[in-house]
């Protein structure tokens, strides 16, 4: 894979689905037993598809990090076979193998004696790129991970934790490896920065489409980041390997169920986009309609309120029937209240549920980016999804 084959867009640009760059990783009956007899990974067979984010999750001592580190031969399996991008890892020179696999760890491990630019250009330097190509790549990557170009000449200790983590990601991406290994990459930063880095990671991945193996002990992070999740129990037993929704819908056993934690239904709603369910048209009136008409519309929908939608279907708010006591009144004359929370197509059903419980109407109103009314989501609709 050459860097020319990859199209990078700046980090801040809207997500564009990039071409899949990744490579397949296959574990075939892999066991790792340490010298003291501890079994870290027990007869693991699993395939990671190209361009897929697979999260290894489980309690400490479940072998998730060991599993990750066997991919780039930082740990050698006791038995079994690992095939990386069509080649048996054990038969590939470790240094050569690792230059084609990006690696990000919680402690980052930036080289304190090298500038940010030199840190990012680590693997290109090992691969013997010329200075100009390296400089261009560094510039490109700084933009990609959202760091100002001026950072290039700084040393790691001059950066904040979040910035260092971005440099770590840029360094791992530098030679455009088809595979990235990430071991609790966002574990050392505070929750606010972590949430932002997670979001940026997902946006970045939508562009670069690497094959990513990601280790975390945080099930919520796993559900958020993973296309598929491998849940390990102690002593390296793979309990379930499934897409997040399938895990939540159908946990394989009590261990998985317990590990997924409380509020599985809510977690599932967090994974379903508003766009995936059909919104109802709702009791809609226009500001010019009469109060009588509003009452009729509300009755037809079994509500005591109506949604007021103006010209070009712009959402204006809602009106309670109690405030429309005079039949001669027009809807627009009454007190039109704004919806405190609105959701759009990209929000999750969990956000919609939150909008429902905080609104006096008991529904979530869906609008487009431009404030155009798209319909309402009701609790019946949501409970249908949970069941």
């Amino acid at each position: 894979m050459t860097s020319a084959s990859v199209r990078f867009v700046p980090y801040c640009a809207p997500a564009v689905s990039g071409r899949i760059q990744g490579a397949v990783i296959t574990f075939d009956a892999v066991t790792k037993r340490f010298a003291d007899g501890t079994v870290a990974v027990d007869d693991l067979s699993l395939e990671i598809a190209e361009g897929e984010v697979v999260v290894f999750v489980g309690p400490s001592g479940c072998g998730k990090t060991t599993t990750l580190r066997m991919i780039n031969r930082m740990v050698e399996p006791t038995s079994g076979r690992i095939v990386v991008d069509g080649r048996d890892a054990a038969a590939t020179n470790p240094a050569e193998l690792r230059r084609r696999i990006g690696y990000v760890i919680q402690q980052i491990g930036l080289f304190p004696h090298r500038t940010v630019a030199a840190n990012i250009a680590t693997v290109p330097t090992l691969l013997g790129w010329d200075e100009r190509r390296k400089a261009e790549r560094v510039e490109e990557l700084l933009a990609l991970v959202g760091l100002p170009a001026g950072t290039a000449g700084r040393y790691p200790h001059e950066l904040s934790g979040g910035q260092r983590q971005r440099v770590g990601v840029a360094r791992a991406l530098a030679a455009d490896p088809p595979i990235m290994l990430m071991d609790e990459p966002f574990g050392a930063v505070d929750p606010i920065v972590r949430a932002r880095l997670q979001e940026e990671f997902l946006r970045l991945q939508a562009t670069v489409r690497k094959t990513i193996a990601f280790v975390t002990h945080d099930i919520d992070e796993a559900l958020r980041m993973g296309d598929r999740i491998a849940i390990f129990s102690e002593a390296g037993v793979l309990e379930q390997y499934d897409a997040p929704r399938d895990l939540l819908n159908d946990p394989a056993n009590a261990f998985v169920e317990e590990f997924l934690g409380e509020e599985r239904g809510l977690k599932r709603l967090g994974l379903i986009a508003v766009s995936e369910v059909a919104a109802e048209p709702g009791p809609v009136v226009s500001p010019g309609d009469s109060a009588r008409r509003a009452v009729e519309v509300a009755r037809a929908h079994g509500t005591d309120w109506v949604v007021v939608v103006g010209g070009e279907r712009t959402l204006e708010g809602w009106v309670s029937l109690h405030e429309l006591d005079d039949d001669a009144q027009r809807v627009g004359d009454g007190l039109v209240r704004p919806f405190a929370l609105q959701v759009d197509a990209n929000d999750s059903l969990r956000a919609a549920l939150n909008a429902m419980v905080t609104s006096r109407t008991g529904v979530a109103v869906r609008v487009s980016g431009g404030g155009v009314y798209e319909g309402i989501l009701t609790q019946e609709l949501i409970s249908k999804e949970i069941r």
Binding site: N72, R99, I105, Q107, G109, H157
Partner: protein, 228 residues
């Protein structure tokens, strides 16, 4: 041990502490002794470094080797210098080798300890990241671990150098000694000026060497000062 003709042959009591005319008449000899002193310092320190470096790397690689290595270099360090020089005389005679061998041996403890601690001080995260990026072992050692270990190694080098500058004077008893020979002159002639010149010269050499090495270290570690 022969005394150059230029030296006054009679001790003179009640003289001024420093006789500048003596210094003026002996400038050439003093310069020669400074050069000798520098050589007797640089050769053992470099030789010590050449020996300590591979041994230290071995001790980093195989931690079990570190304790015996420290015992041996520590034992060498405790040998009384005068005795060691005299003991070597039958084998190497009145030669520079007789001076250089023990001086080299004395540097080993400090150098070994600092090289090992320097490499051990490199954070395991950095080592792990380097390995995972695809460094070969040797390249990682030279371009990642060595620069990071350098401050501690240079600190050891400074101690070894300054210690050696002092120890060199003892080798005057076997006809070497650099500026140390001036001590003997002074004692023999009961004349303070050569003694004082010798002491001042040693101190000056030590200070210059120390500052020089500090400057080298600062040049080699620009990251330690950035944005501080």
């Amino acid at each position: 041990m022969s005394l150059p003709a230029a030296l006054p042959t009679v001790a003179q009591a009640g003289e001024a502490l420093i006789r500048w005319d003596w210094i003026a008449r002996n400038t050439g000899r003093i310069q020669g002794l400074v050069v000798e002193h520098v050589e007797l310092t640089v050769v053992p320190v470099l030789a010590g470094l050449a020996i300590a470096f591979p041994l230290s790397l071995a001790a980093v690689r195989w931690p079990g080797f570190y304790a015996p290595l420290l015992s041996v270099t520590g034992l060498l360090f405790t040998l009384p210098s005068l005795a060691l020089f005299v003991l070597l005389l039958p084998f190497t005679g009145i030669s520079r080798t007789t001076a250089v061998l023990p001086l080299t041996a004395y540097t080993l403890l400090v150098l070994t300890r600092n090289i090992v601690e320097g490499f051990r001080g490199v954070s395991s995260d950095v080592r792990e990241a380097a390995a995972a990026m695809g460094y070969t072992r040797l390249r990682q050692l030279l371009t990642v671990e060595l620069p990071l270990a350098l401050p501690v190694i240079v600190a050891g080098l400074r101690i070894a150098t300054v210690t050696t500058i002092g120890l060199v004077t003892v080798t005057a008893v076997i006809g070497q000694g650099g500026l140390g020979r001036l001590f003997l002159d002074g004692v023999r002639l009961r004349f303070a000026t050569p003694l004082l010149v010798g002491v001042a010269g040693c101190v000056a050499l030590a200070v210059v060497a120390d500052l020089g090495l500090l400057a080298v270290e600062r040049r080699c570690t620009p990251w330690r000062r950035a944005g501080a």
